[in-house]
Symmetry: D2
Subunit: 358 residues, 4 copies
């Protein structure tokens, strides 16, 4: 029996640990395992490598993905160079399903975010045999209690906060940390709680600069001449406008690339007169060796996905519910999980004095 | 209104974070908060300090407990110097209940392990108003899905494994890491899975040296001339005999202090002829700053305990169930949680090739 | 006898360790020690605190400075609000010298960068008794082989490189890390060597985009589809123009704040067509607990400065030469130390294949 | 031209970085490079691998040595199985020199401690062409200001001290950390200074339990109810007797393996009545990824050794003097460097209140 594995979307600590666990599980059952390169593109181009024990040895603690990834290709609108030399966008989904058949893949394990898994779901409906492993560093999938890589990203952001604290305190400044989170504030909320932030601004809770200033002023009255603000990159500015750093960066002016962090800084300086600085963590949050708990979650996901594949439960993906791994339909992968503004975590954060600017 | 807080049992990363969160929550509701020193002894001696905002500032990331702890005193058998000069053991529980009343403590928050919480439960039955926060670095309480400090301890052990790997590989040795876990193998299981151990020996699964040797030999056939074994301190030797390091250490001979780690080493060297070394992590596992996720769990426990106290739900303790904090009766605190030999975690570990020596 | 301590300039890991070591040394000799707040401003405003054993307990591993700092005030041009309500700039140096006398300070220990130490030197020539401790995270002082905090900053940058590696490799990108270094490339050179960078761009070595592209292309021919570039913030663009991030940030447009990192990215994308991303570490490099070696260097500097002060060697500062601490005249503090383009370190970097773009 | 590389002695963070740097430097000059396995044994058995760019890629941050090591074989007394089946010890040095010639090795780079380098020196006097790279985690070579791996080991020990601090403080205990250092106390001194130890016991300074107790009592008077002691494994007991853990461990009784740490504990408990605990770091100090500064020192050593080899300066080894790499005769490798009891470092440690028990 032969099966395939691929990784799609942005990289995330733990991808290699999933590949290793799934491969080891399949090999021990006598399955031949192939890794496809750079997401679905690898199936289209038949660009793949045999995954034997040696190939997955030493992967447990290694960040990134040895299979490469691709966070732009969409097989339903795939860029192909036409005879005319122009780039055309074609639906190559039938070719993919056909490829999997002719390669005699009993099943494909697709590890990726909502993009990769939505495609997997669609391909299943067209006859492909795929099981999924959810991956999102933002932790914003409703179908699973947690995703691997999230804790590692939060840890990196918390370490940055620990460092900003000493600068803020020494110079009596307002330090702002902009972290990942396009639509959901999970990273901002967790790292803010773990790193002792004074204000956390997230997409799910509309905020006003007045309330932020109130918090900073309140601290000054207690003799604390500095404050720490964490803001998720997708948090709208007070008027509701989103300021997406990457879009601005792509505007053509290399010096123009502020994001919500800079908007917050500008407002804070205007309203308080205090010196303020922004730090944008960016890609550092995605990199590095997965922390202990992410290694374990990734291993469990990999083993469970291999078992779903062997049981023929195509169209399902693995998920964490409480302390147990379960299987849920791939189509549930796209339901977003947002921070609930009145949920337990936000409530606990408020109880220890954190302001959400509302 | 006035309330008290104390910490009991062995120290654990996150104790200070619980103290901070509970205190901040209570202060924001106008409650006066007192911290009692060194467990129940502090109430007996009325040795306490006022916990205001300044007292709990900066505690989030600090290991240990500012209140001190005591893992031997039992108020039902408390050592008191009698008039004769001899030490006598007395039941001081009535004095404690009386003290709490005369100090006008509306409620006491007791943070501790099964010892501390069993005492709390017994004191409640004699009229005291106590809510509990469970603490065990071994993670072996059935009443809660996880305890704070556990992930930090596992992380320390995993880092040690990462380091032993390079030595094992360079010198073709069998390296043995003895970790905490008197009755339950949670730390050994987690760190072994995260650190790529080849063999994990835990109290819940009887093991034989032959199966361990088989695994080591199998690796040699694959060209891997080294192996890594993790063993929980409470794992019985093959004949079923427990070898408790601290008891041996207290035998009076300072040079006599082996534990199960050394027993495993002796057997491995005898049976394989390979050079083997033991590392005993010991107290390092209890120390240091809590990791991100333990800071958050500790904060949530502290907030929830303060709220139980204000709601008058005496005799209850906080617990984690899935992603939510709940309240469970204190009497459930003593039910142990052991690693299930056929549970999902052990199953996943076996799937990636880990041997349990059975 | 009474002495004072102050810290000036940007914060740096190890400042507190210097304060602790100097204070402990002085206290053991019976000297009364006062800490002045926010640099020379503290002497002007007589804003100070007594430093006893309790005040410096626990400071060894704590980042930042408990005395606060100020990296803008210049006593020779100090902002003072005149009777008219306007801000006027006055020379308050005579007031400072007079203050030190009337406070009966036998000597002042000034810990700071070339600004702080130049002022100290000038005040000495006007009768003040000051000894110095050099501080610059950029490591760019000729008078000392190394400064405390530098290794910690390099370590933070190296960890970031380790993380960017996995992203670069997974997505076949060119990742650019912009690190501190206004005039000297020490941080860039060290972190680039330790973190396995492919290209290092520093102020001391003029570079051309063609040579950078050549390196990236050479790697592609070897099958390495990603590259890592480290650039010091003060590195001029190819035409020789400096692009200082903070000046652009202060231009009034919050979204305009690129630096040399973005210029390099733009050029790389244009010339290679490869996807490229910039990460700007910023203030994170200054923060956090000092690493082991910085704690030791800071301790040695603090002890030596206290001894210079007691020996009456005013006008001198401590310095590291080889393995020994020595004293050098304060006026030598301003001589810069740049990376030598043909020195041993650059030579070693080139030997292992690193390109400097020249 | 063809050259060889081998590693000998106990493993040490940075060995792989030396191998990588030397290989890259040689390859860029067109030299063919072979790595010999497990020290001199690899030359005897002609057990080797070609080191090309791919073989050394990714080694910079990897602990241990890919070439394997052997810290017992001595070519002047090498264990060989005779025709009779008995193990005999023979001088195989002539065979080694002959092997290097017939393998057409222009030069061999030997990376190792005083054992490996003394052998190299002796082989050179018998006609072999060898250059050396000094390696000792104990930092106890007079010929070089510092050795790679030392800072990483100190860092691991300092982190352990940071963790023991919180336990000591919470439980009012005396915590003892036993670190490496057979004949020299460098690791103990550095980690003790960086980790805030109260007492440091090293082989170079005879100590008395009375002075240790005095320090502990002095702290109690200041309200500090805990103390931290660091002791180097080779420190003699008060009577002058050495208690070497490994020799005791090899006595045949698996439960008998105390060392100087336990002796100190016994004495402290007897004399103070305080609870005391020992932690033995052991092999963890040797393992793991080298820290930033060790990666750089190892890289510089590797480059310089390759250049010595190409310049034909056989019989020399690389060394650090101040900020520069130099070459010194191999015969100087065995001169020990001990901590000077009145040197600057010990003086600084005393100034901040650390007791050496003398």
């Amino acid at each position: 029996m032969r099966m395939g594995i691929l990784t799609g979307g942005g990289d995330c600590p733990g991808l290699n640990a999933v590949i290793r666990a799934a491969t080891k599980t399949l090999l021990s059952k006598g399955v031949e395992v192939w890794g496809f390169k750079d997401g679905y593109r690898g199936i289209y181009l038949r660009d793949c490598q045999l995954l034997d024990r040696a190939a997955v040895s030493g992967l447990l603690h290694r960040g990134g993905t040895i299979l490469g990834s691709n966070n732009r290709d969409n097989p339903f609108r795939f860029p192909v160079r036409a005879a005319s030399g122009e780039i055309e966008y074609r639906d190559i989904s039938a070719i993919l399903v056909e490829s999997m058949n002719s390669l005699q893949l009993q099943c494909l394990i697709a590890i990726g975010g909502d993009g990769t898994l939505s495609i997997a779901n669609e391909l299943c409906s067209r006859g492909a045999a795929i099981v999924g492993v959810p991956k999102t560093i933002d932790n914003d999938l409703a179908a699973t209690d947690q995703t691997f890589g999230f804790v590692t990203a939060v840890h990196t952001a918390t370490e940055a906060l620990d460092k900003l604290h000493t600068t803020a305190e020494s110079h009596h400044r307002v330090m702002i940390l902009e972290v990942m989170g396009r639509y959901a504030g999970w990273i901002a909320l967790w790292c803010g709680m773990a790193g002792g932030a004074d204000v956390i601004l997230i997409p799910e809770i509309p905020w006003q600069i007045d309330r932020v200033v109130e918090k900073i002023r309140g601290r000054q009255l207690e003799g604390k001449l500095f404050s720490i603000i964490v803001v998720a990159e997708g948090t709208p500015a007070p008027g509701g406008k989103r300021v997406v750093r990457e879009q601005i960066a792509n505007s053509g002016d290399p010096l123009r690339l502020g994001g919500i962090g800079e908007v917050v800084r500008e407002l804070v300086e205007q309203e308080t007169g205090m010196e303020s600085r922004v730090t944008v963590l960016g890609h550092i949050q995605r990199g590095g060796s997965p922390l202990t708990t992410d290694r374990i979650l990734a291993t469990r996901f990999g083993v469970a996905a291999a078992e779903l594949a062997m049981e023929g439960r195509y169209g399902y993906m693995v998920a964490l519910k409480g302390t147990q791994i379960t299987a849920v339909p791939l189509k549930d992968a796209t339901k977003p999980s947002n921070v609930h503004p009145d949920g337990q975590l936000v409530h606990a954060a408020r109880a220890v004095g954190i302001s959400f600017g509302d």
